[in-house]
C-alpha cells in the first residue's frame, strides 16, 4: 500500500494538511483503501520527523490526541510494515490570548465570589426575619 492510499482526512472526508487547536486537542481521522489495515501514526515536532514518536498502532480509523503543548506538531501515517508515509499533517496549538484570559478569569472570580457572598449574606440577613407575604396565607400564587 502506498502513501497515497492512507491519508489524514477532515470530518467531511477530504484530505487535510493543517489543523488548528485552542486547547491542545487534535482529532486525527484517516482513510485506507482497504479494510482492516493496521496503521502506525507518528508525531514529531519537526517536519522531517527526525525525533518521531509513535502515537498509535492498530486498525482504528482515528485517534483523539489531547494535552498537546502550544506550538506546531507534525503527524504522519503509514500501513504497518511499510515505509510509505503519508504527507505530514501540521497541527498548530495556540492557547487563548493571555491578556484576554486574565480579564475573563478576573471576571469569573468576581462573579463567583459575589454570587456566593451575596447568597450567604442574604441568608444571614433573612434567616430570623419574619415574612409578611400573601403567600403565607396558604393561597397559591395567582
Amino acid at each position: 500500500m502506498g502513501a497515497g492510499d492512507i491519508e489524514f482526512v477532515d470530518a467531511a472526508g477530504s484530505p487535510v494538511r493543517e489543523v488548528a487547536s485552542d486547547n491542545g486537542t487534535v482529532k486525527l481521522s484517516w482513510t485506507t483503501s482497504e479494510d482492516d489495515v493496521s496503521v502506525i501514526v507518528e508525531q514529531s515536532s519537526s517536519a522531517d520527523f527526525s525525533l518521531a514518536v509513535e502515537r498509535y498502532r492498530g486498525k482504528d480509523t482515528g485517534s483523539v490526541l489531547t494535552g498537546l503543548p502550544e506550538g506546531g506538531h507534525y503527524f504522519r501515517i503509514a500501513a504497518e510494515g511499510t515505509a510509505d508515509w503519508s504527507p505530514p499533517l501540521l497541527a498548530t496549538v495556540t492557547f487563548f490570548d493571555r491578556d484576554s484570559l486574565k480579564l475573563l478569569l478576573s471576571l469569573g472570580g468576581l462573579v463567583v465570589l459575589a454570587t456566593i457572598g451575596t447568597i450567604i449574606g442574604g441568608h444571614v440577613m433573612t434567616i430570623g426575619r419574619p415574612v409578611s407575604d400573601t403567600t403565607t396565607t396558604g393561597k397559591s400564587i395567582p
Binding site: D22, N23, G24, T25, K27, A52, V53, E54, R55, Y56, R57, G58, K59, D60, T61, G62, S63, V64, T66, G67, L68, P69, E70, V93, F95, F96, R98, L101, L104, L105, L107, G108, G109, L110, V111, V112, A114, T115, I116, T118, I119, I120, G121, G122, H123, M125, T126, R129, P130, V131, S132, D133, T134, T135, T136, G138, K139, S140, I141, P142
Partner: protein, 482 residues
Amino acid sequence: MKLLDFSSYVAAATVSISPTTGWIIVGLLGALWIALGFWLGRKAQTSEGFMLAGRNVGLSLGSATAMATWVTSNTTMLAPVMALTLGVWGMLAYSTASFGLMLFAFFAIRIRKLLPQGYTAGDFFKLRYGRFGWSIFLAITMLYSLSWLVSMAIAGGDLMEALAGIPYVQGMTVILAVCVLYTLFGGLYAVIGTDFIQSLIILIGIVFIGSLVIAQLDFDQAYVHISTYQPSLLKIMMPAALLAVFNNMLFGFGEVFHNNVWWSRAFAMREGVAPKAFLLSGILWFPIPIAAGFIALAAAPLGINIVDENQTGPTVAAAVMGNAGFGAAAGIVILIVLFCSMASSIDSLLAATSDLLIKDVHGGLLGRKLNDQSFRRVAGMVILLVALVAWLLALPHWPIINALFISGPLVGSLIWPVIAGLYWKKLNRPLALTGILAGCILGVIAYFQIGWHTASLIGAGVSMGFTILARFVKPSPFGCES
C-alpha cells in the same frame, strides 16, 4: 520508537452486546421502573400528592433524588470528555456543578418561607417580577428543559444503538416510553422512589469501573506518560480549562437556581429537610465527575485509543472491564449504568416541566381551575404532550445538545434575579429584567465569538451588573417583606 502497547485493548474497546441481550436488559429495567412507579404512585391521589409527593419527602429520598437527577448522561458521558481534553482542571470544572446544589440548600430555606404553599418556580417569578418577568423565565426555562429532555432521549437512543445495535428510533422511543409510563402512574412519588434506586446503581457502577482502572493503572508510569505526551492536561495555566471552571460553575448555578426540577423538590420535602438534602446531594455528587474524569485520564496511559471523544467513558470502561476478564459483562454494566443515569433525569424533567405547564400555563395563563379528579386527567395529558414533543424533536436526531449548551448564558442570566428576588427588599425590576435579556444576548454572542467556555460567565456577569445597579437606581419594594 514504540510508545504504547495497544494490542490488549483494541479488541476490548469495541465490546458490545447483542440486540437480544440489549432488549432483555432494557425490558427488565423498564418493567422494574414501571412496576415501582405504579406501586409508589398509589399515594398520589391528590394534585399535591402527584406533583409534590405530599410535601412529605424525607432526607434519604430527598438527597438521593437530587443527586440522581443531577447525574445525567452528560455527567457520565461529558465529564470524561472534559477530563480527556482539558485535564485535571476539566475534571474539577465539571465537579463544580455540585456547588449549585449546595447553595440551593440556602435557597430552600428562603423558598419555603416565601412560598410555603408554592408549587413551581414560576410562582416565584410571577410574584417577584410580574407577568413580563414570568414570561421571560418561562421562555428560558422551557428552552432549557426541553433541550435537556430531548438531549437525554437522543443520548438514550444513541447508547442503545452503539452498545446493542438496537435501531436509534426504537431505543429512543423505549427509554422515553418507560419514563413516561412510571411518571404517569406515580407522579413525583414514582420519580423520587426510582431515583433512589437509580442513584445507588449509578454509584455502584462508577465505583466498580473506577476500581478496575485503579487496579490496572501504574500511577507513576501514568504520571510520566501524561507529563511527557499530554503535558497540557497537567498545566496549571491552561486557558480553556481555567475558563471552563468558572463557566461550568455558573452554568450549574443557573441551571439549579431557576429550574423547576429543583424548586419542586424544595416544595416536596418535609419542613427542614430540603437544606440538608441539597447540601448532602451536592457533597455526594461532587466526586462523581472526578471519578468519571479519572477514568478518561487513564485512557492514554493504559494504551486505550479514543476514536470518538464523545464515547470516551464507554470506550475506557469497556476496555478495562474486558482486560479484567469481564468482557461479556462490560456492555451490560455500561448499559445499565447509563440507562439509569438517563432515566433519572428524563423522569424528573417530565414531571417538573409538566407541573410548570399545568400550573403556570393551564392554571396561570389560561386561568383554568382544576379539582383533584380533573387534575390527574390533565396532568396525564400534559406529560404525554411533553413526551410527544420531546420524541418529535429527538426523531430527526438533530444535535440538540448544542441547544442545551447554548442555554448556558440564558440560565446564567437568571442567577442574580433569583438571588435578588429571594433576599432583597427592593429592586428596579425593569432594569433587572433588562439585565436578563442583555445577559442572554451577550452570552450567546460570546458562545459563538469567543468560545463555549465563556458564554455562561458573560451571561451571568452582565446580568449581575444590571441587577446590582437595579438595587440602587430607583428601586421599588417587592411588597412582600415586613
